[in-house]
């Protein structure tokens, strides 16, 4: 019935570890932005190398404040959800959506400018990998093994 019920303990623990690491990353990114008075996605959006009209529209004066708040909110919610183990499937899907937006604004296409980056990428970059990892987590939810939902697990 459950995808993880067929997994070994080691496999489940690895899944939990992956979930906690990604949750950690999302939450920290969100918290830093909450406490920064100057952070905005404007630069990232305006310098988009793909789907420019869309991302530049997101950066327009009237939309941007909502985009900034929504971005921080999703980072915090996804991070919290993955860390505490609550509704992780929905969090994974929301996280994938956000990461794909990051990816599409600056995709690692060889014919597009790469901009500042800490590594070398061809088509695949860390945003895409993190999104794929979230897809795995969405298909193998572990919150009933480690997470707040374990509390409410129906005992058989």
């Amino acid at each position: 019935m459950n995808a993880i019920s067929k997994l070994s303990i080691g496999q489940v623990n690895s899944m939990v570890l992956l979930r906690l690491l990604i949750g950690w990353h999302f939450l920290y990114e969100g918290v830093i932005k909450v406490y920064s008075t100057t952070w905005t996605a404007k630069g990232y959006l305006l310098s988009a190398s793909f789907f420019q009209p869309f991302f530049q529209w997101l950066a327009s004066e009237s939309i941007l404040p909502a985009v900034d708040v929504l971005n921080i909110f999703i980072l915090l919610v996804v991070g919290a959800s993955l860390l505490i183990g609550f509704r992780t499937k929905w969090a994974c899907l929301a996280g994938i959506g956000l990461l794909l937006l990051y990816y599409l604004a600056h995709p690692a296409f060889p014919w597009l400018p790469q901009g500042p980056s800490e590594g070398s990428y061809w088509l695949v970059n860390k945003n895409l990998i993190e999104a794929a990892a979230l897809l795995v987590l969405a298909l193998f939810p572990t919150e009933k093994r480690f997470g707040i939902e374990r509390m409410f697990k129906t005992k058989k």
């Binding site: 906690l20 949750g23 950690w24 939450l27 920290y28 918290v31 830093i32 909450v34 406490y35 920064s36 008075t37 905005t40 404007k42 630069g43 305006l46 310098s47 530049q56 991070g79 919290a80 860390l83 505490i84 183990g85 093994r145 480690f146 997470g147 707040i148 939902e149 374990r150 509390m151 409410f152 005992k155």
Partner: protein
Amino acid sequence: MSTKQNIFQTLTRRDWLKSLGGLSLFGAVWSAGASFSTKAKRERNILLQTLNIKAAAPPPTATMEGSPLRIGIIGFGGRGEHLVRSLGYATTEWLEEMSRAEKENPADTRLKEFKDQENLNIRLTGVCDVFDVHANKALQSFNGNGNTCKRYRTATEMINSGEVDAVVIATPDHWHAPLSIEAINAGIHVYVEKPMTHSIEETYTLRNAVIENPKVVFALGHQHRQTQSFLTAQDAIAKNVLGHISLVMTATNRNDDNGAWQYDIHPDANTKTIDWELFLGSAPKIPFNAEHFFRWRKWWAYGSGLSGDLMTHDYDRINCILKMGIPKFVTASGGIYTHRDGRNVPDVMQINMEFPDFKTGTSQEIGKEQGMTFVYSATLGNQLDRGTVLMGHDGSMELGNAVTIFADSGSTRYKKMIEEKRIDPYVPIFQYDPSVNGVDAVTSATAKYFANKGLLWTYRDGKRVDSTFLHLREWISCIRNGGKPSCGIQEGFEEAITAHMGGLSYKLGRKIEWDNEVQKIIALPGEDLDAILLDNKV
């Protein structure tokens, strides 16, 4: 309720740990992020309070009301067109071109910015250009909408017509001073492009003319004085953030034909459409030469090479911040290495200016530090952006449209803070970027180069404004409401003398000295410095 109680009752210690373990991680990550951010912010605020640099507010904007000011433009080439546009008058051709550019690229806001520009309440009543095509372009564009623009064959006719209150001079260099002097003596206000003069002698004559006509407002076209970042930099220097500045480095880097003054030659240029004799003026008499007419910056007869054309911008940028005046010594070198096309002004040039008495305050014992070298380094064969750097004992300042200050790892003032790891010499201690997060639709490489130097655009209340517009506005405001332009005759005198010392050192191959007591460039016995400077054979 009873079901829940049952669930909780069945939870083991292991279940509790596995259920709530994530909460502790959540708390740990949140508090780590919060404490890191708060600490960084607190450190930053302490540092900013210590430095106490104020991004100076723009000078109060004076009124433009009253009867319209009547302005005449002398020299309606590329720069003349830009100046007139800043006054609110764009040619039909430019409007059409910008309209097309806007359609092709919605991020191109040049047309919108022009339309949004404040009305300076002026009438463009006259144009004077020796080339019929230029003059006719002005006449066709500026007659209508309540404006009447008349062509004058000579500047003398325009100045004495009684139909202009002020003139904007954007001619080749050798006409700057003669026309300015004539206008000032006739009581007409003057805005002249840089360099202020073409010879040493006329620098003194022009200064005397301005002093003798105190009612006339004279301004020199170094528009970067309006740039917000320069006002911020001035305050940082006043607060002695950098310590004693011993070296300033500025550079010109261009690598395109336009940047090397290889402008297009108009197909209609000939002896019938150009008043060649009038163009030549004081220059050596030679037969009509279209290349000399359109690319006059390449010859000493009409232009001033890198020292007058571009070093003057950098010199005045630094002079407006450090107020160091005329250098005691100037040594220049260079050659024609990138454009061997018959020009006689150098295209690669290095000018070292020495200021042995210069002081900006110190963080060390009094008397240890004094004196500064200002290096201007230029090539027209490479466009690596080398920026502008002011180097002091306590810190370095990178200066452009933004101001970035780094503490120096050997600083006395910041020693304790560096030891306590509260300052990282590799992370700026101060940054001022008025365009923060903005991406400009500045297109050409040359435009970008000037924008980075703070020469094209500045920001007022977060809105991008053409600094040439602000500079002209300041001049017009002084005419209307009184006051002194930020780049007036004294600043112009210092700029012109320094440029001429650079040109002389290049031509003579020796160190040129300024005698501040007698206010003269020292010449060797029998030496005619102006003849050497203007010599068009070398």
